[in-house]
């Protein structure tokens, strides 16, 4: 029968990883994500899995790259400062197409910032933190239950698309305790595609996603951070370079049907639509309820997959809306992306960068101001 417990989001995330088949964790202590490492240090050996605390976050990324190439589902967990250190190897894993998940429990930035406070100010870093052009998947839970469920999706998507996936939590969702129901049905699990005989390690496959050869089975697979051709060996060819970089974007953008995740509340007849995600979306839900009580047709579009950015979805959902409010705990990082889709006049940011959660009233006031 299903299991019910009262746990932190970080705990739920760790359990989700295990349920998804993660059997390797490498990480480094950092508030507010350390609980994930602590829980996996305890739980992984129980299932024959491996845990290692590395000397820094760069080493942690290197270790999970190595473990993933060794055939393990591997993850790490960190927060802003560690996430910054991980960027070069996140880029490496993108180009070498190594499946893994990086959990970033966002805290107040920049720099040491506000270590025990929430923020959502790493959204752009999740997209562009590593140098160069490449695609990325980022998923954002806004509850403890979702931290479990969505983490399974994150691990699956990494395997499915041979890519790093950023699991973008925040300190609120990470540290709050809520009911978690672990369904008794085993979740659907996606495993990396093994190559057909003679299939090259970077041949794009039917949907732009190459098969991933296993280490230790005689494949003699070469992995490099240099731009490489389908054989995996370095090349200086402009054509191959262009093809590779485009494929790293398009293998995700062409498969949005499998990646796109969002939630809606009263958005069908909404005149004022809030776009929010993570902890801020919890306040937005309450604001919608309060607005509706006042007869204001407000609605919420909650983004669960933030990267690749769901531009088409936003364009469609906001077509008949008078005004869009983007509620986020940063200086307008998703606001900027939404503005690119809808234009400045249609978008009203509701921002907070003072470590305090956006309140429902704050959003409601923005909506009512707009209404008058």
């Amino acid at each position: 029968m299903s299991q019910t417990m009262l746990v932190q989001g970080n705990h739920a995330c760790a359990l989700g990883a295990l349920a998804a088949g993660v059997r390797f964790f490498a990480g480094y202590p950092i508030t507010p994500s350390t609980e994930i490492a602590e829980i996996l240090a305890k739980e992984l050996p129980k299932v024959g899995g491996k845990f290692i605390q590395m000397e820094d976050e760069i080493a942690s990324m290197g270790a999970i790259c190595g473990a993933s190439l060794g055939g393990f589902k591997a993850i790490t967990a960190t927060s802003g400062p560690g996430f910054s250190l991980m960027q070069e190897l996140i880029g490496y894993a993108s180009l070498a197409e190594i499946p893994l998940v990086i959990v970033n429990v966002q805290r107040g930035g920049p720099s040491t910032g506000q270590p025990t406070s929430p923020s959502q100010s790493d959204v752009m870093q999740a997209r562009w933190g590593s140098h160069g052009d490449r695609g990325v998947i980022a998923l954002v839970p806004s509850s403890v239950q979702e931290s479990y469920q969505l983490m399974i999706d994150a691990v699956n998507l990494a395997e499915r698309f041979r890519t790093p996936v950023i699991f973008l939590m925040d300190e609120v969702v990470g540290h709050m305790r809520e009911k978690l129901v672990i369904p008794k049905t085993t979740p659907t699990i996606i495993n990396r595609r093994k190559p057909e005989p003679g299939e090259l390690p970077y041949a794009p496959g039917p949907d732009g996603v190459p098969a991933l050869p296993p280490f230790g089975e005689g494949y003699h697979f070469h992995v490099t951070g240099l731009i490489h051709d389908e054989t995996g060996f370095p090349t200086g060819s402009p054509e191959v370079t262009e093809k590779t970089i485009k494929r790293l974007h398009q293998k995700l953008e062409n498969n949005m049907d499998e990646i796109l995740r969002y939630d809606e509340l009263h958005s069908a007849d909404a005149e004022y639509l809030i776009i929010s995600y993570g902890c801020s979306a919890r306040s937005a839900e309450e604001a919608v309820r309060m607005a509706r009580e006042k007869g204001i047709k407000a609605g919420l579009l909650r983004l669960i997959s933030i990267w690749p950015f769901p531009s088409d979805l936003i364009e469609e959902k906001c077509a008949r809306v008078k005004k869009v409010f983007v509620a986020e705990m940063n200086y307008g990082q998703v606001t900027g992306e939404v503005t690119k889709v809808l234009g400045r006049s249609k978008v009203q940011p509701v921002l907070r960068v003072d470590t305090q959660m956006i309140t429902p009233r704050q959003i409601l006031e923005a909506i009512t101001r707009e209404g008058n």
């Binding site: 024959g48 590395m54 000397e55 290197g62 999970i64 190897l89 070469h222």
Partner: protein, 274 residues
């Protein structure tokens, strides 16, 4: 090249890119002969390299290979070895790659005594980027970034490895090729963190900038300025000044990381750990 060694190379990737007289090819040749001597199963052997001249080696070797990021080979290797203790994992790295940007990983991998064989191609310089000094560049040497003579003191990487916890430490040179093969073979066979410093000539950059002559001349320097561990033990300290000691410098048996972790799994799972 001897026919029997060809299976260890990706022949279609040769000739390699190293400059005429660069010793890296000799070190890789020694590694391949050590692997052949031990009869390692190439399907169960992974070679992980960093960035720099030394680290192009993984592309030429017919194994599961990873050309990682600068300084990070040991972190990839640690993850791979912990996940897959059944694989032989060999790390090829340069003096800069291992002790500058990779220094933190080097001392921690040694501290853990994880079963990795690390071969440091020490050519005293950053060759790939055109000849800057590295943490192993001798004091007073010329480099493009020490045009007035290097004022820094280099590490003794073998002492650094030993102090950090490595359980096998050796130093060889490209001149003493047969010995280098044996040192590498012993390092691979040793269960624990093994380091072999391979002194190798960089005639095009370090040699030219310091007027050390061509490749044979630099290898003659290796012959005339090194002393074996055995011979050195018989000489008083002052006579050792300026001499580089080569051979097996240090070895001890110590708990190996992946074996210890497996014990944890066995303890926690009551022995039926998957």
């Amino acid at each position: 090249m001897n026919e029997t060694l060809k299976k260890y190379f990706r022949m279609n990737r040769l000739p390699h890119i190293w400059c005429p007289g660069c010793g890296n090819g000799i070190v890789v040749g020694a590694l391949v002969r050590a692997i052949d001597k031990l009869g390692l199963n190439p399907d169960k052997t992974s070679i992980i390299s960093g960035i720099g001249c030394s680290s192009r080696s993984s592309g030429y070797l017919n194994f599961d290979t990873v050309h990682t990021a600068h300084g990070r080979a040991l972190t990839f290797a640690t993850g791979l070895k912990l996940a897959r203790p059944d694989l032989n994992v060999i790390v090829l790295t340069g003096d800069g790659d291992a002790t500058a940007i990779g220094g933190n990983h080097f001392i921690h991998a040694a501290r853990r005594n994880i079963d990795l064989t690390t071969i440091v191609f020490n050519n005293n310089i950053y060759g790939m980027t055109g000849g800057q000094y590295s943490p192993l560049t001798p004091t007073h040497s010329k480099a493009t970034t020490s045009p007035y003579g290097h004022i820094e003191n280099p590490f003794d990487i073998t002492e650094l490895a030993k102090a950090s916890g490595a359980s096998y430490v050796a130093r060889g040179t490209t001149y003493h090729t047969l010995e280098l093969i044996n040192l590498i073979a012993d390092a691979i066979s040793h269960k624990g963190f093994s380091v072999v410093e391979a002194i190798t000539a960089c005639p095009i950059s370090f040699g030219r900038q310091n007027k050390l002559g061509n490749a044979p001349a630099m290898m003659k320097w290796q012959k005339e300025n090194t002393i074996s561990v055995k011979a050195a033990s018989k000489l008083p300290a002052e006579q050792l000044a300026g001499k580089v000691v080569i051979g097996e410098l240090y070895r001890r048996q110590a708990p190996e990381y992946t074996a210890e972790y497996q014990k944890v799994i066995d303890r926690v799972t009551g022995g039926n750990g998957q």
